[in-house]
Symmetry: C2
Subunit: 216 residues, 2 copies
Amino acid sequence: MSPTITAFAQSPDRGRGLARDMQVRWALEEVGQPYDVRLVSFSDMKETAHWALHPFGQIPTYQDGDLVLFESGAIVFHLAERHAGLLPDDANARARAIAWMFAALSSVEPPILELANARLLEGDKPWSKERLPLVVDRIRDRLKQLSNRLGDADWLDGEFSAGDLLMVGVLRRLSSSGLLDEYPNLAAYVARGEARPAFRRAFAAQLAVFTAASGG
Amino acid sequence: MSPTITAFAQSPDRGRGLARDMQVRWALEEVGQPYDVRLVSFSDMKETAHWALHPFGQIPTYQDGDLVLFESGAIVFHLAERHAGLLPDDANARARAIAWMFAALSSVEPPILELANARLLEGDKPWSKERLPLVVDRIRDRLKQLSNRLGDADWLDGEFSAGDLLMVGVLRRLSSSGLLDEYPNLAAYVARGEARPAFRRAFAAQLAVFTAASGG
């Protein structure tokens, strides 16, 4: 039996791979684990059955036999722990790769989520225009630090790891903002992630859901 | 040799245990691992030597022999993996506890950080008074979901785990806001965490730094 993940039946990002199933699909492709996808509609996501799987009513969930998981970071970690290819064998290098997983989701993503909230939830507010540059500057602070640490390396700490997978996934949320272009090594880092065959397979799979849903 | 963590020489929270060394101290106490603390001043934190340890120039860092780690979530996980007491033995229960670790830091904390930013960085802005209730309502959405999931259980999934440790740590940021009181089971959950002997030892240790620094 393959594990089953959930994804949006109708992707709100129009197939740009910004929904959180993308990182899980990518990790599954990196480790060569076949998987099934159960698409959920927004009305499915209001049902008790969905909330039993996910305490915040979101996607993705991950089911493998008796195991039910939520949180894309935790699902990626679960896969990385059970398969070769996403975490180094050396104990210290492994711990550092895990640190980058947490860094992506708890230090780099929060200011990026603030920008998304500022646009989606407060874009019509009278303060929006004046406030947005402050939010963007808080992202710049973090990107500059990340850019300095990455330097001219290909990946954050040695070989590609689950830390890079999550970090590239977080940074991709900025693709349409132009902010990454201010840090050429970060833009190249994201492009390097997106060029991986496993990324491309995962991206195509989530895009196919959107294309089918929109009748394209 | 005991591991060494870094903490603020002068705690900006006046010893309330909201700096991110608190969760690491708590985890160290839970597993019975003695540790050393190196206090860093705000000027130390501007030095290249500190940035070599922490890519975002923050605390805590964790050093144990050749291993240097950052990100409090990753440090707690590192301790939980190497010592008994913070992750269940059963593989599925362990994966779920790790999911709660990620949930604390990537689903529950971000809206709470938004509120902190709204107060600290935008408290003097003309939109502050009108905007704060929107930010608070986004926290309420998440707290309600978490409260529903916790129900009348003591901990999020069976025995106390590193997931609870991080979740209690995140929720404690709301202690002064009164928001937790709207969800009595969450307030009781936080109190249950704070009553653990390991929490109390960790809290006392970080408070002693503040008391000594302030000459009290």
